[in-house]
């Protein structure tokens, strides 16, 4: 069977999450480069997953809701990553899903041998399913052992298997709650985080006994300004990081996020083949960058013709490992990247420029609270405050190009005046002029 790809689901969910139901079916399908029929099929499949994953109690309420509505980011429910269900999309045969769940359930309370498990599986099987043979059970056990869900107990043959959940079962109730909180806080504040969110879900089940006594035990911590769609791109990380780790090039099909099409169906029938706007390419991956300003991921690598190349992770589809390169060659390119990105505000590898900015503290603020300065110190990366006076302070930074830092400076509004370089100063003036013109008619209405 061909390797199952989730590119379509990822692009689908991204578009749905970002545009929050702005498009109708036709518009949506067109932007994804798929047919309306495929759109409907994909939507049905994703809805099915969401509804199955949701707690049975919530099922009836959620069943009638539109998927877009479900995905709509609720500010005050931000601890649950709404898009996590993507990672539950791997298909599984009905019979296999039955068997695996039986095996795990049987091992809940005791350690068992393959033979004992076979007996239990056969006796608990719904009549419409064919009973598994020992070979099948052994291969299931091997799978469960490979993913670390079960482990062999001490002692020789025949092996007894048990669930590997010691990180929970060896803890006291209080310690389990501490673990749950820690996993939740780290999954919500660190990247990559999908594994953490999955672990959080496992722990939720482990701590279920708390539900009765403390109905809102899971609802104590909130996180604000989260970019929820960031976890979609984490789907690519395993293959990308594995390639970096093994000095391997990557093959992929890239759709620039600026093009109106963000995915294209891989039709096997050439008669239906559409002209795609993406292009296939190969590069040596060197690093993954997460941008906190937008919650987006970049893949930075070395391309044989184009040199250092930065691609938005969301534009990458059909990623596959390719040829391996010499470790020395890889190291040389990594060093080159490290040197070039030393002064990147984000990923710009252009010429370094010294930017000097005058910041004005908020009018009327006492000496105790200067949120402008706090923000500059918090977000100004490696830049420094070089002078401090009563009414202003000077901030300096050497940064590659002025494009990436400009939005940040502009976000300070009138609390910021660019002194150098002149070109950035001019640009800021022009932008403020245009913005003023844009809002000028407002004055009359106020």
């Amino acid at each position: 069977m061909a390797k199952e790809s989730f590119d379509k689901e990822i692009q689908f969910l991204r578009l749905l999450a970002l545009t929050s139901g702005a498009y109708n079916r036709q518009q949506f399908a067109k932007r994804l480069g798929i047919s309306v029929h495929t759109f409907d099929k994909t939507l049905r499949r994703l809805k099915d997953i969401v509804q199955t994953v949701n707690h049975p109690n919530e099922l009836s309420a959620a069943a009638g809701r539109e998927l877009a509505e479900h995905l709509q980011f609720q500010y005050y429910e931000s601890a649950d990553p709404v898009l996590l269900f993507l990672f539950r999309a791997k298909s599984l045969k009905e019979s296999e899903s039955h068997r695996l769940s039986q095996l795990v359930a049987a091992l809940q309370t005791q350690e068992l041998t393959a033979k004992e498990l076979l007996e239990q599986c056969c006796s608990d099987l719904p009549p419409e399913l064919i009973p598994p043979d020992e070979k099948t059970i052994r291969s299931d056990l091997k799978y469960l052992e490979d993913v670390g869900v079960i482990c062999k107990a001490a002692g020789g043959r025949p092996y007894r298997y048990g669930l590997d959940r010691s990180i929970v079962t060896r803890l006291t109730d209080e310690e389990q709650l501490d673990l749950y909180d820690y996993v939740e806080v780290m999954a919500n504040t660190q990247v990559p985080s999908v594994q953490g969110y999955l672990l959080r879900e496992s722990l939720k089940k482990a701590l279920k006994p708390l539900d009765g006594k403390h109905p809102d035990w899971q609802e104590t911590l909130w996180y604000k300004y989260h970019y929820h769609s960031r976890i979609l791109d984490e789907a690519h990380l395993p293959v990308v990081l594995h390639a970096i780790d093994s000095c391997r090039r990557l093959k992929f099909m890239y759709f620039s996020p600026k093009s109106s099409l963000s995915y294209s169906s891989q039709n096997t029938n050439p008669l239906f083949e559409k002209e795609t706007k993406g292009y296939s390419d190969t590069m040596l991956p060197l690093k993954v960058v997460y941008d906190h300003q937008y919650g987006r991921w970049y893949l930075v690598g070395f391309h044989r013709q184009r040199g250092l190349l930065k691609l938005r992770m969301e534009g990458l589809t059909q990623i596959e490992g390719d040829t391996q390169v010499e470790a020395a060659y890889f190291k040389e390119k990594q060093d080159l990247l490290a040197e070039k990105m030393k002064h990147s505000w984000l990923i710009d590898t252009g010429e370094p420029v010294r930017v000097i900015v005058k910041f004005y503290p908020p009018a009327g603020a006492g000496s105790g609270s200067n949120f402008i300065k706090d923000r500059v110190l918090l977000q100004g990366q490696w830049g420094c405050i070089t002078e401090e006076h009563a009414g202003y302070f000077i901030y300096e930074i050497i940064v590659n190009g002025i494009t990436e830092i400009r939005p940040w400076l502009r976000s300070f509004g009138s609390s910021c005046e660019v002194l150098e370089p002149q070109i950035l100063r001019r640009q800021m003036i022009e932008e403020w002029k245009e913005l003023k013109a844009c809002y000028e008619p407002v004055r009359e209405n106020l």
């Binding site: 970002l18 518009q27 997953i49 993913v147 501490d178 504040t189 929820h228 970096i244 106020l446």
Partner: protein, 268 residues
Amino acid sequence: MNLFEKIFNYQLHSRLDESGAYTITSHERSWLKAMLEHSAADDAFDSGTLEKLRGLLAGEADSHLFRYVEEKAGSIPKRIYHPLLRTLRRMIMNRQGVRVSYQLRNGEQWENRQGFPYKLEYSMVKREWYLIWYPFRERSLMMTKLAHIRAVEEISMPPDKAKHMIQHIADMLLQRKQRAVIEVIPAYNAELSRILYAFSCFEKEVAYNDSTNTYRIALAFPGHEAEFVLSKIRFLGLRVRVAEGDYFKHRMLEAATKALARYGDESV
């Protein structure tokens, strides 16, 4: 390693749920092992627990997830796990009241204020934990930085009163919600993805007008976040304009006028 594992499959997941079973894979354990190396772990566990967990994970493979990932343009990470988190989270879970001693923004000290703790909130931008609580004397909702709290003490609260408080606070938060509509300037539609990403940290609805090829983003946010919303609008510059929300329009005009004044004659 693959994030799309059979064991995570949704049907299997729901079957396991029915039988009250759960599983933990080595992916999850490797991630946790890496996380326990973080200094935040010292604030999150008693030292005995931390040692126990590290011991249990010692045989797990090291995760290479973090080795090649670099975070850029974020706020400097401060203390991620505040030591009071554990105490306060339990008070909230137990629906108990709290007595708080803390420092106000202007430096003034408040001692033993009684109130009801509602939630703990972490801001990814300010990298601070806040206690959202309702002091009984002031009768208004407060967001107090955990960093400013010196001491907390649990006070008992009858379940009925706690239930009433929770509802009351939820209503107050709902009432504080504000709305603004941002329009994407059609000339920048090619940058739509960037713009939508920038607003994806808010509760929002997007409307698309096919005939004018215009996108409008309706944002909903708590009133005290207006400054943050404004900074996002300024961040995006000419790509967007405020279509609805007089306060925001006014503030944008004010920012542009004052900014130009800073540049003096050059801006004429």
